[in-house]
Every structure is written in structure tokens, then in C-alpha cells.
């Protein structure tokens, strides 16, 4: 089963995993890593490496809160080093798709599911949609 690490500015990642578990139940091989005030790229990269090592092998996807930001830059470094793909701009629908789909799908097929979930997961609803 593919592992996941959610990486964010502050505690967004922990909150997201907590929210996910409220919906999908307790998760294995899913960790949250925070970039805290006063920390830089080097510390964050090290924290991600430790989480990957703790997962004991197998594929890992690195979910980050925003493309181009430090969590994404740190994950990109690990991607270049270890080959773990990065899913930048994660939201709850993407994480849910990951949690529910990772028993059945892996590799590129799983990444495709995540990309689709990201497209479908954000919608704007207006009053006229309901009347």
C-alpha cells in the first residue's frame, strides 16, 4: 500500500490528516509534517526523510499545501533524490481519494485519480444553483 506524507506551513497538515480520519477512519502509513516558524528548507527536508524512513519502504507520495512554496520545494528535493512523486496543492478531496484508492491503485494510476479528484473537488455554488 502506498504511503503518504502531508507537508504544510504550520499545522495545516496535521489538521488535514485529522479531518481525513474523521471521514475515512484511522489511517496507516500516512504522516503529517509541519514547517514551523524559524525553520528552513534543510530542517523540513530532514523531517520528511525521517518520515519516509519510518514507513519501512514501498512507494510514498508527498502531498504539499501549495506549489512553489517551501514544503513543495523540500518535497521536490526528495523527489529528485528518491523518486517519490509530489502532489502539490493538496486538499481534502484529494487526500480522501488517496486514502480510499490506495488499496486498489498504485503508481501512475493512483496519481491520475488524485489529479482528477483535485479538478472535481473544488466547486463554487451560487444561490441560483438551488432555486
Amino acid at each position: 500500500m502506498t504511503g503518504g506524507i502531508v507537508i504544510s506551513h504550520g499545522d495545516y497538515s496535521r489538521g488535514m490528516v485529522q479531518a481525513l480520519e474523521m471521514i475515512a477512519g484511522k489511517q496507516e502509513k500516512l504522516a503529517a509534517v509541519a514547517l514551523n516558524e524559524g525553520e528552513g528548507l534543510a530542517e523540513l527536508t530532514e523531517k520528511i526523510r525521517e518520515e519516509i524512513a519510518g514507513m519501512g519502504g514501498g512507494d510514498v507520495i508527498l502531498f504539499t499545501d501549495m506549489f512553489g512554496a517551501t514544503p513543495c520545494n523540500a518535497a521536490s528535493l526528495i523527489c529528485a533524490e528518491l523518486g517519490c512523486p509530489v502532489a502539490a496543492g493538496v486538499n481534502l478531496p484529494v487526500l480522501l481519494t488517496f486514502a480510499l484508492g490506495r488499496e486498489e491503485f498504485e503508481g501512475e494510476a493512483l496519481l491520475e485519480q488524485l489529479a482528477q479528484a483535485s479538478k472535481e473537488g473544488f466547486r463554487i455554488l451560487r444561490e441560483k444553483d438551488f432555486i
Partner: protein
């Protein structure tokens, strides 16, 4: 013209993209850092991270002054980004095309650093570079994002 010389050890990141580049209407970034310039993976990560409308040059400290001078007299707004005040000092000594200011943003809490502001920690040699810049008549100030209150180096006891 060179609008801003900024020191930020996370270089290109969320705060820089969302506030510094957008608020300053920055069209080009000159990123001066030996490690990044010498590490293609790192350079590619930062090149990918900037919005598609912003151009970026990643150069070594030695090449920095000539690249800065190449863009200094053009119309587009340029941000010169460095990872530590010692590099800013070298650039200020090597070219007169930079603004006579150094904006220090977030600097992480590393081994042997001291807290300058709640978001900036400096090594002794970095603090020494700030003193030398000040002695050269260059204003050194701390600010993370454009509309935040600035903290002058001269108010920070280091």
C-alpha cells in the same frame, strides 16, 4: 531597475511568490547563491516555483554583479534575492547599481544563530555583515511582506 535587494534563506517560497513578487510587480528575479547555482536540481526547483510571468536568473556570487548591471537600467522591476547578508555585502561592494538598502525577511533558526526578530535569526558573521553594510551607508531593515512594519537594524541589539 533593481527595486529590491532581499535576503531570505528560503529564497523562493510561498510568502515571496504571494506577496513580494505580486505586490512589487516584479518581472524578473536574480537569485544569487553559490549553492543553488552549482546544484542543477535546486536551481530547477526554484525556476519551476516562480509564476510563468516572472523571469529568473540563478547565478553565483561571482557572476552576480555583471548580471545585476545587465538588468539595472531596464524598465522591468527586478528583485535581487540572496540567502545571507554576507552575499548582500559582497554584491553591494562589487556594484553601485543596487538600491542602498537591504531587506531581510525570514532567516531560519540555525546552529549558532541569534534571534534578531521573531522571524529572523542571524549567525555572528551575518550580523557582522549587517554592521558593515550600515557603516557603508546602506540601510538594513527587517520586513517579511511589503505592508508590514519595518524593523531597523539599528534598533536590533546584535
Amino acid at each position: 531597475m533593481i527595486d529590491l535587494l532581499r535576503c531570505d534563506d528560503r529564497l523562493i517560497h510561498g510568502q515571496c511568490i504571494v506577496r513580494v513578487i505580486q505586490d512589487g510587480n516584479i518581472g524578473r528575479i536574480i537569485l544569487v547563491d553559490d549553492f543553488t547555482a552549482g546544484t542543477p536540481v535546486m536551481a530547477n526547483i526554484y525556476k519551476m516555483a516562480v509564476p510563468p510571468t516572472v523571469k529568473i536568473d540563478v547565478v553565483s556570487t561571482a557572476d552576480g554583479p555583471s548580471v545585476i548591471e545587465r538588468y539595472a537600467d531596464q524598465k522591468e522591476s527586478v528583485l535581487v534575492l540572496v540567502k545571507d547578508p554576507c552575499v548582500a555585502l559582497k554584491l553591494q561592494k562589487a556594484t553601485d547599481k543596487l538600491p542602498k538598502e537591504l531587506n531581510i525577511g525570514p532567516m531560519s533558526n540555525r546552529n549558532n544563530t541569534k534571534k534578531a526578530t521573531f522571524y529572523s535569526y542571524l549567525l555572528p558573521e551575518e550580523a557582522a555583515a549587517c554592521h558593515e553594510l550600515t557603516a557603508m551607508g546602506i540601510r538594513v531593515f527587517f520586513r517579511q511582506v511589503p505592508d508590514e512594519k519595518e524593523i531597523e537594524w539599528t534598533e536590533v541589539k546584535m
